[in-house]
Symmetry: C2
Subunit: 468 residues, 2 copies
């Protein structure tokens, strides 16, 4: 519901925040920069990490994640929108990213707005900006997608990505609920779509996919959102070469694909998990017939990824851009989005490749932190995902999944069986499990052995001196 | 394969161990006792923990596990038996318990014997005993089951639980491979079944289920295994009253049920997860028909559990018995076995109740450690399990699992949907995920942020001064 008295009070909240921050006594001296790099593996639960480790490093190998100084766990909290005290046991990326961005528990689909009341909630990126830090978001999804959006925009629903998506008359996919976006429409006194809020915003670096969300005309404007962003001081880059050679110290908007970036890896010949095929006789008795399991496969380079800007390239560029400013330091969120998106599609190799991309981004962050010790690196997931590493049936064993299975031949020559069986529908479901939270040595004494997901906001804000 | 030259060399290994231990310079002074309590939640991965937390404490609640000082993760390693350098990506309770008990990686089904070579591997309980510590195992499964057995016996296969199970002519369940047990038979120069090894062994306290495995006559003997155990100095107790009132300081064998102890909780009226039922029309088009999901249910007391000895009672008795001896301290392994066994049966309430039992055992261990600070408490799982916390479909949402679903009404009045969908067979499968490892404050500086499962043996052995 749209409650004018408390909605769109962000400007006021920011002013208060600036006052609070200005008068607070900071942990760090004024001339000592502090930085936070938050890396989110969307859907990167322990199953995904184990699967990726087995493929990328071997069963006895170690990921960079595994070697991080601290390991904790994040307990995810979601509430019903109608009755905000009632828990919901499985989150989506919007409400869980909102938890990390704002420290508040909200309902499914919401982007930095409160459950029920629909009030904007100030984010760590906004608090940091107001306090004199630089800020950035990097994602392999559209920059308007739920995870990045929750740090730099405020809307009732993740569906409200661009002006078309907010129009009931718009040419939109069937899953978009444009009606729900009404209260955020500019003609209703709202701040408009996620893309519009980004275009008119003050985030220093915004890098990812989602060009198509900036091509429509802005609400209440003759200009496209791209033009509005440029008029607002953003330099636009659209490929890796432009990104790497960019020398501008102004605001930077990088849009490297139409929507979600393609995954780096895919299954052999584009295969994903498939259904086992029991023979007709097997359906009568398991003694009479047999079950044909999908052929095993290797992962291969995804041809659609050719020429794509990597998460590492975006992370390197963002860190370089943010760290050279004369300010108090920076807050940067980096998302590897398609660990989740590939798992929704039962594309095991896709998820593995995007976890490899996350590892590269982590290496970049660690390299920076080695030279800039006042840098807190946190790596976590927003929620669990469907994929399960299950036993690979041996010859003669008849058991098989009721869902879909991908049987991946690993570089060490063994078969790893990955099960997707949360739904008969086309898109696998999230799970409600706790997810890992990793920290570099700066997390010592700051990251306890377990946190609720909103407490990640508290840890980061305290590190930057944004909260007393 | 049976290799006489290297098989059954345990006695020799123990002698060497005693010498090594005797000559080693210990971490602790001679008059300072040290204790290790290892609590294993069989199949207790992060999904199980999250599900149990939601039910037992509410979404915002905290388990005792959650409040432990240290949280790490255990990376499970398994190998092929034929080619012991080849990894297998999903473990069973035998090889994973062997990892923790011995520090060695082995193959599926093995009880403290090596992959391929079939050599006995000395366990931490044996090393501790030889070095002057008391030792105990507690389990809600049969004491001959894979997890407890791996600490106090050595056989080629977990199937070799009692003399009948080792006989191809025995009246055995179809899944028992008695032929495989041949090399361990007494008439082949082996040490006999798991039950026989326990009856003739030196473990100070053995408490759990599995009376039926001690009722057959011992191999090469006219006496039952129960009688052999008593002749070997074991006092036998068979119910909680006898256990609690026992004043003997000699060896203690408690067998409280015929086989696995019943779970404390069950689903309403004994229900477990069920299949959703799509209507005939739904199978033609999801627009035409509908899917009937199983009714939601509460968990209830399992009537079969009435009068059963609890894991807490066994743990209290074991700690009391072991801690009053004039020795160097003790090693105790406590297993909550049916988090796993109930999950195999798609019995979500069963798993929840056994995680509650594990929490009670942990409370007992923590109470002891509060008064005896030289006590390392570790809590972990042996492997992951099938259960997944998935979204509960709302009215009008048609997605449904291809497997079985339990929809549990939690005490906070919300529905928690638990999915079981790893197999069409009757018993759900393990998963290969990393599992949590928790430690009390004694783990500080000893438990890194990630361990391989065999390293748990190293941590415990080093704490007790058993390895240099």
């Amino acid at each position: 519901m749209f409650i004018p008295a408390i909605k769109h009070t962000l400007q006021g909240a920011l002013s208060v925040a600036v006052l609070m921050v200005s008068s607070a006594s900071f942990v760090q001296a004024a001339d000592e920069k502090r930085n936070v790099i938050l890396i989110i593996g969307d859907g990167m639960d322990d199953q995904q990490i184990t699967i990726a480790r087995n493929y990328l490093k071997g069963a006895n190998g170690r990921l960079l994640l595994d070697a991080m100084a601290l390991r904790s766990t994040s307990h995810i909290l979601t509430v019903e929108d109608a009755v905000s005290s009632s828990p919901v046991y499985v989150a989506d990326s919007a409400n869980s990213a909102t938890s990390m961005a704002t420290g508040q528990i909200t309902s499914i689909g919401r982007i930095a707005t409160s459950a029920g009341e629909d009030k904007d909630i100030i984010t760590i990126a906004e608090l940091a900006k107001a306090a004199g830090f630089s800020t950035g978001v990097v994602s392999s999804a559209s920059v308007t997608d739920a995870t990045p959006a929750s740090f730099i925009a405020h809307v009732i629903s993740r569906d409200c990505e661009n002006p078309t998506r907010m129009s009931v008359a718009g040419d939109n996919p069937s899953w978009v609920n444009a009606e729900l976006c009404k209260t955020d429409r500019v003609d209703n006194g709202g701040a408009g779509s996620i893309a519009q809020q980004i275009a008119l915003g003050s985030t220093d670096v915004v890098l990812g996919g989602g060009m198509k969300h900036f091509q429509p005309r802005g609400a209440d404007s003759d200009k496209t959102l791209l033009k509005m962003a440029q008029d607002n001081g953003y330099q636009l880059v659209t490929n890796a070469a432009e990104l790497m050679s960019n020398k501008s110290s102004g605001k930077l908007l990088g849009l490297f694909s139409e929507h979600t970036m393609p995954t780096r890896l895919r299954g052999e010949d584009g295969r994903i998990a498939e259904r086992p095929l029991p023979s007709l006789l097997y359906n009568i008795s398991s003694d009479l017939g047999s079950v044909v399991l999908p052929e095993s496969m290797r992962c291969e380079e995804n041809p659609d990824y050719a020429g794509m800007t990597s998460i590492k390239q975006m992370t390197d560029a963002a860190i370089k851009h943010l760290s050279t400013k004369a300010d108090r330091g920076f807050f940067l969120m980096v998302e590897s989005a398609s660990i989740d998106k590939a798992s929704h599609k039962r594309n095991a190799c896709g998820s593995i490749g995007e976890l490899a991309q996350l590892e590269e981004a982590l290496a970049s962050a660690q390299k920076f932190a080695a030279d800039h010790p006042n840098t807190l690196i946190l790596v976590t997931a927003d929620h669990g995902q469907a994929a399960q590493l299950i036993p690979n049936p041996k010859a003669g064993q008849a058991f098989y999944t009721p869902g879909h299975i991908a049987r991946i031949t690993t570089p060490e020559g063994q078969i790893m069986a990955i099960n997707y069986a949360t739904t008969e529908a086309h898109s696998e479901k999230h799970t409600g499990t706790n997810v890992p939270l990793f920290a570099n040595i700066e997390g010592q004494g700051r990251v306890p052995s377990m946190v609720t997901q909103p407490e990640i906001f508290n840890i980061m804000s305290a590190y930057l001196g944004l909260i007393p």
